[in-house]
Amino acid sequence: MPLFKKILVANRGEIAVRVIRALRELGIPSVAVFSEVDRAALHVQMADDAVPIGPSPSAQSYLVGSRIIEAALSTGADAIHPGYGFLSENAGFAEACSTAGIKFIGPSWRSIERMGSKTGARRVALRVGAPVVPGTEEGIQTLKEARTIAARIGYPVLLKASAGGGGKGMRRVDRQGELESAIRSASSEAERAFGSREVYLEKLIEQPRHIEVQVLGDEHGHLIHLGERECSVQRRHQKVIEECPSPLSSVVPGLRSSIGEAALKIARAAEYFNAGTLEFLADQSGNFYFLEMNTRLQVEHPVTEWATGMDLVHWQIRIAAGERLTVKQEHVQWRGCAMECRLYAEDPENNFFPSPGRLVHYAEPGGPGVRVDGGVYEGWTVPIEYDPLLAKLTVWGQTREIAIERMRRALAEYRVGGITTNLALFDAVMRDEAFRAGQLDTGFLDRFMRNWKAPEMPENALLASMIAAASNESKLAQTKLAAAPSAPSAWRTNAIRGLLQ
């Protein structure tokens, strides 16, 4: 008997494509949903059915749960995979699915509710005795309270949005005098981003590493961890490069089992099932502190899949269908090193300004040890409305050194023309001494960018480009280039700036 009759994928871009691929492998028909601007998107082309769900802004399409549930009912889908972002961590949506008789592929809406709030997740961690960063358990109510707590745990402290993620509503505060204005700006940023002004305080760990643990559990109480991921290479709290295992694991023996055990304790207390990730801050000696839980599939799940050989999306679907997770903790093994680079349509030379537009050329790398999870194709116009993630390039190597060299090889094979991407930045990071030595912390990329200059095109590549352009220009050309549509117009550039404000 098939696991499900049909599954609707309530997402877009590379993660929708990733889930549709898994569905095809499992023999389950797929339903895509799309906004107006996504009519020709890759996930629409790859799905068996596709349903329009509204205008381009996500608030009128990908975030409208009722429309997505309607689309599932009208196409005969009996389950919804939410991907990441959008409605994936929305307890109300998960509950609405279940009310409509549709299986939400993820944890129970009660787990989402309990673990989705950072303060709630922290309470659970404290209850089971897992280490947490010293700070408030509740949102801050008054300035006086904030001052007392900050003085107790000691500056520098970090203000964070209770409902948030991705660095929004987050402020570093170095002294008491900065506290009031930091609370004000963090609260209003949190309100704009998440609809809640609540912020909380915690101790700032200097030179921290961002290490997270993947967990997977079935609906019968069996829960395992799939090890750690190193996600310290980030910019404004957005991850850029991830790897499994963490280089810290080879320096601190026993880190994986102790951090894995801590993650399991918290997840068990939340009666968690399906795939989830527990994020920790770790100092350079391997002391770790629970930060928050992501109650969904993670962008960077491919590195764990590759190191452990387990397909997380397959398991998510099988678990949602009620199957037992047949893998025991002692069966999980980690092989080699898997590393992921997130290819974004943004310009690292111009303060990472988004660079949407038409992909005039697009060719992905291949060959041994290379996996590309892409959501775009040559000729596709990257819309301005959504996250500028184009694709994730993941490589595997028997050792970290081999993985790094393989990543450089794959990056050189990547061809993107028409829009600016962060490709050139990755090659520079792969050559960086500290990166190669695994000496990472969440400030790595900011420091790296201070000394980084976009590499010039090598002389012979410049010469070859001139020959190709001149030949095309001359009467010698056998085939002439069709003129591409014009560059993004001023209104579009202004629209992007508007979005950034």
Partner: protein, 167 residues
Amino acid sequence: MKFSVEAASETFEFELGGGGASLEYKVAGPNEVSGEASLVPVSPGVYSVLLGTESITVNLSKTEGQYEAACGGRRLFLSIADKRDRAERPRADAGSGPVEVRAQMPGKIITLLVQPGTEVAAGQSLLVIEAMKMQNELKSPKSGIVSKLYVSEGETVPANHRLVVIE
């Protein structure tokens, strides 16, 4: 064929001859580069170039007259002008009356090849101007006599500066 190529904030005087698998190229200037190359279009906008034996793939697109080349993870913009086309481009007043020759870019006058009163043919070199280490010969847009010379050797001129009038 000769081209003026602007790339990487430099202007190159670039010459390309032959065809298809056996091209000859020359980049003029103090560090002149020349050699043989082969170029094959492999798919629309994608060219396989062999510089001698060095294999380089270039992805090329053209937007509003400007080329974008993507090569080995880097992107580059190129503006390219066919120098013969430019020299032969008829001016509004070509054939009759004086024609002003202006500097196309800021630069330094290296050599004057004509004096007032010199008789010149269309396409004949008038002077050599150097910009960003690249030397560029300015050619007469028409046949006639040099009636005015506004610059002298060694002088630095801004873009669009008047250089020579041909009557």
